[in-house]
């Protein structure tokens, strides 16, 4: 409970890991899950999920399916599904998300907006359920 940097199970076999002593510059486009513990400057994009560790420093716009942040991020975030901000997260930038979880202590400087994807999905599912009930 007190270890905030525990990675979710899905990151244990991450395709790409950037360690704490590594600096990445440029447009980093991955395909699988990505873990960032070091420094990244540029942009960061994947169709899968990204985990940003407590000591990581990211100056980049980020696009991902799920995004878990415990470090320092300067840039706009575009998260299709789930965004989680840990207690040590510092965000300077606008955020677009599906669903959002913010732990006490997280700092956000920017605008928050929901992309409505999750809402749309839920509405579709409840509509389907209604239709099948009627039938």
């Amino acid at each position: 409970m007190f270890n905030r940097n525990i990675k979710p199970e899905k990151f244990k076999d991450a395709e790409t890991v950037i360690g704490a002593s590594i600096k990445v510059k440029g447009n980093f486009n991955g395909q699988g899950n990505i873990i960032i513990e070091g420094i990244l400057e540029g942009s960061l994009k994947t169709d899968a999920n990204i985990f940003i560790g407590e000591k990581a420093k990211v100056v980049a716009n980020i696009e991902a399916n799920d995004l878990i942040i415990h470090g320092d991020v300067r840039g706009n975030l575009k998260v299709k599904n789930y965004l989680s901000l840990g207690a040590t997260a510092k965000i300077n930038g606008d955020i677009q998300f599906g669903t959002l979880s913010v732990e006490k202590g997280a700092v956000i400087n920017g605008q928050l907006s929901s992309n409505g994807e999750v809402g749309k999905k839920e509405a579709k599912e409840s509509e389907k359920a209604k239709l099948s009930d009627e039938e």
């Binding site: 991450a14 395709e15 790409t16 890991v17 950037i18 360690g19 704490a20 002593s21 590594i22 600096k23 990445v24 510059k25 440029g26 447009n27 980093f28 486009n29 513990e37 070091g38 540029g42």
Partner: protein
């Protein structure tokens, strides 16, 4: 036809018994063939390519990683013998230390190697290529001062450690799973404080002004240099206990 390439160091007295034992076993199994001793040969590549041209179907490196590295380029780079090289197989009989390549193929010693040559289990695998030098297992370089440039981004390590560019791991006990059929190289960076970094890529360039790359533990290559993977480039004879599927 089998052609056996004996490395220089096998002339030393301490390897006589092992070599004799191997030769007897090969004869028993009906696998004897032409023997070429590398000592005294200046143009190794030309000699091996000539054997391929004359119809050698299997080139067997008798020695260690260095022996394999010496002959691998000759087997696959002979474009003028394109029709012949398609059928050329690489076999290994490990003798002495520094035999991680043989280990990755599941070959532990000379006796087992003879049985594996007889069983003729064939796998097609990728090769790493740095400049004009091929490697089967991995290339290593100091991490501090090394910059790796990919098409859209670059990475640099901020402290001392080691960068390993892996095509095929020599054992299964490692934390990463390398696959010599996936058309990718694994880049593993381990630093003292910074933990592990893992990336996969087809091609990139690498520069370190102070240190050289070491390929398969035997060949030193200067940087800057281009690094790439050559997919399914060589047919190898492997054992059941190999480190890949």
């Amino acid at each position: 036809m089998h052609v056996y390439i004996y490395d220089d160091y096998l002339n030393r007295g301490r390897y006589n018994k092992t070599v004799n034992r191997m030769e007897i076993r090969l004869t028993d199994l009906g696998l004897n063939g032409k023997i070429i001793r590398l000592s005294g040969i200046k143009n190794i590549r030309g000699t091996i390519q000539n054997e391929i041209k004359l119809g050698a179907k299997t080139i067997v490196a008798v020695g260690n990683n260095q022996t394999v590295n010496k002959i691998i380029g000759a087997i696959i780079e002979a474009d003028i013998y394109g029709d012949f090289q398609k059928n050329t197989l690489l076999g290994i009989v490990p003798i002495g230390p520094d035999n991680s390549i043989a280990s990755s193929f599941g070959i532990k010693n000379e006796e087992q190697a003879c049985n594996i040559l007889l069983a003729r289990r064939i796998k097609k695998i990728d090769l790493g290529l740095i400049g004009s030098y091929y490697f089967l297992n991995e290339a290593r370089i100091e991490s501090l001062g090394t910059k790796i440039n990919f098409a859209d981004y670059s990475i640099e390590a901020q402290e001392r450690g080691e960068i390993r560019i892996i095509n095929l791991l020599s054992d299964r006990s490692n934390t990463i799973k390398s696959n010599p059929h996936d058309g990718l190289l694994d880049i593993l960076i381990k630093t003292k404080k910074g933990g592990e970094t893992l990336l996969r890529a087809k091609n990139f360039s690498l520069i370190n002004e102070r240190y050289n790359l070491l390929l398969d533990g035997v060949v030193e290559v200067k940087t800057p240099n281009e690094v790439k993977v050559v997919s399914n480039r060589i047919n190898v004879i492997v054992g059941k206990d190999r480190s890949f599927d």
